[in-house]
């Protein structure tokens, strides 16, 4: 194996694996400190997330959200942009979906309504990202700052819309009316049932196919199209891209629109797939989780699918832990996620020098 190849193995596979493992060891120590048997806890977590079809359904349902936001962060990252605004883009994207799914003629066929509602999410997510993109490209405001601020703006906007516009008279919770039936994405258990297979009910719905489709699309777009090449060129070296005839300003706008649109798809899963209405904070945590998923997945769609699955396991398995063990509070799930993010994001290159030294030392002659 050449050194190049060994390096890519180290960066792509070995490092994330070791990072996740370290995070789990740290979690085990926390468990021991609060008097929970870590082996027992792991068993519950794994069984709860993967061991029976309802649990697996929940895991994949949570993972679907992380695929969308993970892809969003990854696309932006390839252009050298750190999109922290997934949370807000997902939120506003949900509004786009909801507008279509609430006000379209209920008599229309699902084949028309569903694509339109998905487009609504894509469009509104993109629109929410275009202003920070413009400010970065043409006014030099840093994308990290503006996208963070846009999360707060999104939150304020959604509160206003839900409380003052979409809430029905006499309703307590700030939430919209139910979406028209034609916009409901079928649940996976219903699809299976129509083929004669009976599986347990779970919120898992066909948006997981949408997630897989967009993962493939992102892969094709980034590595097999001109624009994808331009995005990666800008990310690798702005000056070289300019020399190559690429306009980085335009690329920033395009990339952020794609990134925001992908984040805007969270609403497909949460709203069209499961809750069938718009409500406050349906996006909670998925936008930020997407950053960790993209980091762990090395900004590659395949890696993101794996990392999103891991986060799905943490979400569902963590909920199961909370359910089974009365001395584990729901906050332990946040601790576990925090440790994964810390070791996969913050301390990403912790083991890199050691690994390179032993596995891929610089050789005088190859």
């Amino acid at each position: 194996m050449t050194r190049e190849r060994r390096l890519s193995w180290i960066n792509g596979l070995l490092l994330p694996f070791l990072n996740v493992l370290t995070a789990f060891i740290a979690t085990a120590i926390v468990f021991i400190l609060i008097g929970v048997d870590p082996i027992e806890a792991t068993k519950i977590l794994i069984y709860g997330a993967l061991g029976y079809d309802e649990g697996l359904g929940y895991t994949l349902y949570y993972a679907t959200n992380f695929v969308f936001t993970g892809l969003a962060v990854a696309v932006a990252f390839h252009a050298g942009l750190f999109n922290i605004g997934g949370e807000g883009q997902a939120y506003v994207g949900g509004l786009g979906t909801a507008i279509v799914a609430l006000y379209l003629n209920p008599a229309l066929s699902a084949w028309i309504v569903i694509p339109l509602a998905i487009s609504g999410g894509l469009l509104f997510g993109a629109l929410w990202a275009i202003i920070p993109a413009y400010l970065q490209a043409y006014r030099g405001s840093h994308i990290v700052i503006t996208t963070i601020m846009f999360n707060f703006l999104a939150s304020a906007l959604m509160v206003y819309v839900l409380v003052n516009v979409l809430r029905e008279v006499g309703e307590m919770s700030p939430e919209s009316a139910d979406f028209i039936k034609a916009s409901w994405l079928p649940f996976v258990h219903d699809v299976f049932a129509s083929f004669g297979y009976k599986i347990a009910k779970s919120p898992l719905n066909l948006s997981i196919l949408v997630a897989l489709f967009f993962s493939g699309l992102v892969w094709f777009f980034l590595w097999h199209t001109r624009w994808g090449y331009a995005i990666r060129a800008v990310g690798k070296s702005n000056d070289a891209a300019v020399y190559g005839g690429i306009n980085p300003k335009k690329i920033i706008i395009v990339t952020m629109c794609i990134s925001g649109a992908l984040a805007g798809l969270v609403g497909i899963n949460e709203l069209m797939g499961v809750q069938h209405r718009l409500f406050l904070n349906f996006n909670y945590g998925y936008g930020f989780g997407g950053i960790a998923v993209a980091l762990m997945g090395r900004n590659h769609p395949v890696g993101i699918l794996i990392a999103a699955f891991l986060f799905g396991i943490l979400y569902q398995g963590g909920a199961e832990l909370d359910f089974e063990l009365q001395n584990v509070s729901r906050d332990i799930v946040v601790v576990m996620q925090g440790l994964v993010i810390l070791f996969c994001g913050g301390l990403e290159y912790l083991y890199r020098p050691i690994l390179i030294r032993f596995l891929a030392p610089i050789e005088a002659t190859e």
């Binding site: 493992l21 789990f24 060891i25 085990a28 870590p38 082996i39 027992e40 792991t42 068993k43 519950i44 794994i46 069984y47 993967l50 061991g51 029976y52 929940y58 349902y61 509160v159 409380v163 003052n164 008279v169 006499g170 309703e171 307590m172 919770s173 700030p174 009910k201 919120p203 499961v274 809750q275 409500f279 406050l280 349906f282 909670y284 945590g285 909920a319 909370d322 359910f323 089974e324 063990l325 009365q326 509070s329 729901r330 799930v333």
Partner: protein, 346 residues
């Protein structure tokens, strides 16, 4: 550590091995076992059981009290998102827990879904309404209790102006406000009521700083008694009232002890007791679906009197409150319910 690593990755990578692991863990999975046949459970809302307000009232006066009195374990869960509410209700039902108490109106959708799927499980929702035969809806006539404290506020005020600080701007809180206004007007029709809401999202239940600011502005505009129906936000209201030397009225549980000397009374709403009674009814076998309405007549709501506010409450005031209570019970006083038509006559 080694074990943990191995089991984790076998779960991830080898689907075939999963069934074996699964069957092993299924037996090992601890399930909270209760004495007898009643296995009660409670699902709080996303604010959590230590929210210093509504959920905590259920936890302290309902769940803990029931566990201490009967020795029957109550299994608790605090969901973190919308999907988890329904998931946990269904899971409790599936594991044979009953009754399952859902705390707060945000749970209504989840309870409706779970109750339809598990018709044999007894569900109780506090403060919400779900139309199903196996759901007990515990609701309170907050307007009646607010009417009583409104009477007291009007009598305690010297300035002719009293204040109201609401939490989240929802019909339920408008019901408190409207009942309060009617009580104030009942005692003295020339009184002026200043009313404000803290916000329009659930965050408004936990914002004592803003509660304090609103109170300050109301006091500066002449109010000398301020009633807070704002969950945790109320803490700031009571503190500011004490600092500025005016009276405050607490809500939900008896909060008179929080600022002794400046707490005129509290509009208690016995949510904890309601939870307790629902558990107890299930033990006795007298649990039933439908509505459990707690008004002044049932002593589900009312004005709290104890040693902390004894010096503030005059005998005239006590007499007036008793008269109002009697009037509400015998029907000679009808307190308009804001939620019946989404409007307040005052």
């Amino acid at each position: 550590m080694k074990n943990m690593k191995r089991s984790h990755f076998s779960g991830l990578l080898k689907k075939t091995g999963l069934a074996v692991i699964a069957s092993t863990f299924l037996l090992a999975a601890p399930i909270a076992q209760a004495d007898g046949h009643v296995k009660p459970a409670v699902v709080y809302d996303t604010a959590g059981k230590n929210d210093k307000s509504f959920n905590e009232a259920v936890y302290v006066n309902g769940v803990m009290k029931f566990m201490n009195d009967t020795g029957i374990a109550v299994t608790e869960l605090e969901p973190t998102n919308e999907a988890m509410m329904e998931q946990s209700l269904k899971k409790f039902a599936q594991r044979g827990y009953s009754p399952v108490i859902a705390v707060g109106f945000t749970m209504a959708n989840a309870v409706a879904a779970a109750a339809a799927e598990y018709p044999d499980t007894q569900f109780t929702i506090i403060d919400g309404v779900v139309d199903a035969p196996n759901v007990q809806n515990v609701i309170f006539k907050e307007h009646e209790g607010s009417f009583l404290v409104g009477v007291m506020a009007a009598m305690a005020s010297n300035s002719g102006t009293v204040g109201f600080v609401g939490g989240m701007d929802i019909p339920l809180i408008s019901r408190f406000e409207c009942g309060y206004k009617q009580g104030v007007a009942h005692a003295d029709s020339s009184m002026n009521v200043l009313a404000q809401m803290t916000g329009s999202t659930p965050a408004a239940w936990g914002n004592p700083t803003k509660g304090g600011e609103i109170t300050r502005s109301q006091v500066e505009n002449g109010a000398d008694v301020v009633y807070a129906a704002a969950g945790g936000t109320g803490i700031g209201v009571y503190q500011t009232a004490a600092d500025m030397g005016v009276l405050a009225i607490g809500v939900d549980s008896n909060q008179n002890y929080m600022q002794p000397g400046t707490m005129l009374t509290s509009m208690y709403k016995k949510v904890g007791l309601a939870a307790y009674e629902s558990f107890a009814a299930a033990v006795d076998g007298t649990w039933s679906g439908g509505f459990k309405v707690n008004g002044v007549a049932e002593d589900g709501v009312g004005a709290a009197m104890d040693e902390y506010n004894a010096d503030l409450v005059s005998s005239d005031m006590l007499a007036a409150v008793d008269a109002a209570r009697a009037g509400i019970i015998d029907g000679s006083i009808v307190v308009h319910d804001y939620m019946s038509d989404n409007s307040c006559p005052l």
